[in-house]
Amino acid sequence: MSRTIDLRTIDGVREAQAAGISSTDICSEVFARIDAFDRDLHAFTFLAHDAARARARELDTNGASGPLAGVPIALKDNLCTRRMPTTASSRILRDYLPPYDATVVRRLMDAGAIVAGKTNCDEFAMGSSTENSASGPSRNPWDPTRTPGGSSGGSAVAVAAGFVPVAIGSDTGGSIRQPAALCGLVGLKPTYGRVSRYGLLAFGSSLDQIGPITWTVRDAAVVLNVIAGPDPADATAVDIPVPDFTAGLDGSVSGLRIGVPRELLREGVDRDVLTLFDAAIEELRQQGASVSDVALPHAQYAIPVYYLVATAEASSNLARYDGVRYGFRSSKANSLREMYRRTRDEGFGPEVKRRIMLGTYVLSAGYYDAYYLKAQQVRTLIRRDYDRAFADVDVVVMPTTPTAAFTLGEKVDDPLQMYLADVFTVSANLSGLPALSVPCGFTPAGLPVGLQLTGRMFEEGTLLRIGGAYERMTRWYDKRQPAPLEQALAARVNEPDAAQA
């Protein structure tokens, strides 16, 4: 007897388990696929072979329980993992082994997950393509000449290539939703305060949130159930009830009010993306949702506001990397000050330096009011626009990105052009609102495109319900798969207990 293991979904893992395939064998299948395809795709920067196998054996021996029992997962490399390298894809944290697990990591492990490894990202999550990683870019499984997006690009690749059904990312300006969209996946940025940030290497503390990247809305809901909730170690993790996010998934969109900021889509959006977006709106309308235009007059300023606020916070957060306490230190220094400067010069890549410089500038005497304070005031106006819109509609929808995946190298020398690709995602971080990206089809070139839903504070459930209903109608994830996943799904694994070692 042999069968394929469908590692796209948690249900796929459950089916394999029900057929008698052990966690050890599922783990072997994960690493076999990674061995076969990840040399080219570069989803992972570290593979936790030994820890994963030990954990799988433990689950096989003692029985697995919990919502993620025996489910292999991947973690973005800016999440602290105890005694497992955590570098944020930066040279300055080369070989750094944290002494503790992030709260999110602890919760995932307690729910039964098996950590397969750490995924590639833009250095300190600063970027939209993974090209700012110290270990080189990840490649999009749908077209390896293209970026998977970023900064959580490796996490998206690990799921899109069929290595693991769940990957965790972080989202400061779209870093979960954009790679999910460009890789044909579901990506959720929870409400600011829904998920503890303890153990996430800080980039923009008022913007960062941790969330899942998965093939299906249901799996995103399952993961949010596990990671959400207050944490004594993070004062911003709000103590409000965490509902069962899977409960409303089968609901319909009938009667829901959907707002489209049409004004915002007039310029700069690729024609193919707009066509798919309009088709998705039409689909939702036919299912009973009402659709109206909403005005977000300050959303056009979201990019400059974001890059002023995020870099200011980054310049402060990254002051701690000075060669004293973590990872890398320059060997070419004779005094303490020289050691700080040289360590930071040799340890940080160009984009991180650029952002530290920009953030330092906008916080410096004489520029603070004109840039930083002004940006914070416009941030208030952006949030007010949404609050006004949510008086009339339940969700605001727009494309997740203005284009499908761009070619590697296309924007890397032009930081401003790279920043502009975040035009639809940064508002959710500035306002704190939850936002979900779900696949909404393919361009004529076969590249996936995402539909973004933004909801009221702490109403992730509404987003998941609409996303789930849309997914049931369209089932994009069943229509096409990237080549590596197709090959993996065609390979058969002997059952039980005879997967390749």
Partner: protein, 104 residues
Amino acid sequence: MLAFRMPEILSREEVERIAALASLELTEAEVETFARQLGEILEYARRVQQIDTSGIAPTSHGVSTAPLDRADDPQPSLDRASVLPGAPDPAQDAGLFRVPRVIG
């Protein structure tokens, strides 16, 4: 539409001043590149200055409720022995981080 090239608004001296504030040692080439790129980004960012924000309070974070205080009970924190190995030059026996000479 956005492929403009504005005149740079950052001088080399300003770039060097900021680098010093940020404890970054930049090469000549980096100073050159950053003066141009940061100038372009700031030129773009200046559009926020057109907006009338008189009387608008700044938003510093997205938390909509009061931050959560935990009970002020002493808790064990990470112990030195587990933290020091992450440093580039730990003095394990002394329980300290070793750094280069501070005073000439």
